[in-house]
Symmetry: C2
Subunit: 245 residues, 2 copies
């Protein structure tokens, strides 16, 4: 089990930027990493441009100890993630006999030269197999390369859960109120200054009759989060909050 | 009407990275910009960290002639977009009497000091008003600052449509086939090399009985796109495609 302190997601594909496809993978990844206690500190949505991808990979690899990519691992001309990762590491792509065996098992007698292109992976990459997913995940250094198809992306999150953890678990409480953000600023400022170890979030909801603002308290120490929660509840006017989770 | 050649989106908020909120704004923005012929070439999802935001803003402002931000324009401690934009431009935030007038009109006798914090905007910023939205959009240089609340974000896209255009319109055709990507690589490679002015996209669908791959052809020249479409259709086997859009 490897401990990860900071993760970055690269969502790759022209289709995410020209509106043809709505990304579904960032939220699935964010939820999974949160559950593992791994802070996801940045995500980028990038075009299918190998040079641009390689530059961004190098830049983000220097700042994060986990990179998860989504998309661009298929066999067509616009699948450039594997070659960009190779370029970022200063290696070539070469044919992996282990990957060929996986492809032979998956495609059987339908296997084409097109499919076999997917066996061309960055030199030194590992194939991570998890019990419930037929397709292996290609991992080079700290870069985990996932397919963009949402069903496959979600299925492969299992392999992250098997191998990675954050430094510790997050504790979260949420308070829902009919006060709007403009009526809460003084109380929230007080919370932020008195509880520096707790992250205070404030999320307005404009078209929900049940509440106007959701306030969240997050931290690595459960007692610290509970103490901040008590101060928040004490500071709300009578009749509030609507609910606490 | 200003002509924009390259846009970048900054989606701002810890909640997008820790899984508390699923982003809805990138797709709405991507679709709108596409309709205007404006290429959206990159998007970033970033934390509520003013220093990090200011650095990224400066970096992206040097490479794009339109930046759209989503989130962080409310009145609470975690709303840091306006101050980060000011820092990126090397100016301060100061109270805008024009913005105070808008807030007075919107909140009337419910107006608090908390709400008035939202009148503290980057020096030299303009307030762009569109007929159907009560709230003005704050614009500093090429940076348009939108609220993160999806209903408000979408409503404000009207102001982009009023003021900005891309260099020209995109033409798009889509072909749906039961062939998988591995069976299409040779034909797609041929299309890409013979029609350099057309962008060829290939999108596998894994759990849809009606097709396995969607092929898209995009370009600025309608005849070029139609010629590439004809070559693609001629190259498909009998019984294909399933449909053309």
């Amino acid at each position: 089990m490897r401990i990860v302190h900071s993760a970055c997601a690269l969502l790759i594909g022209n289709e995410l930027l020209n509106g043809k496809v709505r990304d579904e993978n960032l939220h699935a990844l964010a939820t999974t990493l949160r559950g593992l206690g791994i802070p996801l500190t940045r995500a980028l949505v990038l075009r299918d441009d190998p040079g641009e991808l390689a530059r961004e990979l190098q830049h983000q690899m220097a700042q994060h100890d986990l990179i998860v990519t989504s998309g661009g691992v298929g066999p067509t001309h616009d699948d450039v993630t594997l070659s960009a990762v190779a370029e970022a590491f200063g290696v070539k792509c070469s044919v992996s006999t282990e990957m060929i065996q996986h492809l032979q098992r998956i495609y059987a007698n339908r296997l084409t030269d097109g499919h076999l292109r997917m066996a061309n992976i960055p030199e030194g990459a590992q194939l991570v197999v998890s019990p419930d997913v037929a397709w292996p995940t290609i991992v080079k250094g700290n870069v985990w390369m996932f397919p963009g198809v949402p069903e496959l992306f979600r299925a492969k999150l299992a392999s992250l859960r098997q191998h990675l953890r954050g430094p510790s678990e997050f504790h979260t409480r949420s308070v829902f109120t009919q006060l709007d953000e403009g009526e809460l600023t003084a109380l929230l400022d007080q919370l932020v200054s008195l509880h520096p170890e707790v992250e205070v979030g404030s999320y307005p909801k404009w078209f929900d009759p049940s509440y106007k603002t959701k306030i969240t308290l997050d931290g690595l120490s459960e007692p610290a989060v509970e103490t901040a929660l008590q101060r928040l509840l004490d500071g709300l006017p009578p009749g509030e909050p609507q609910r606490v989770e």
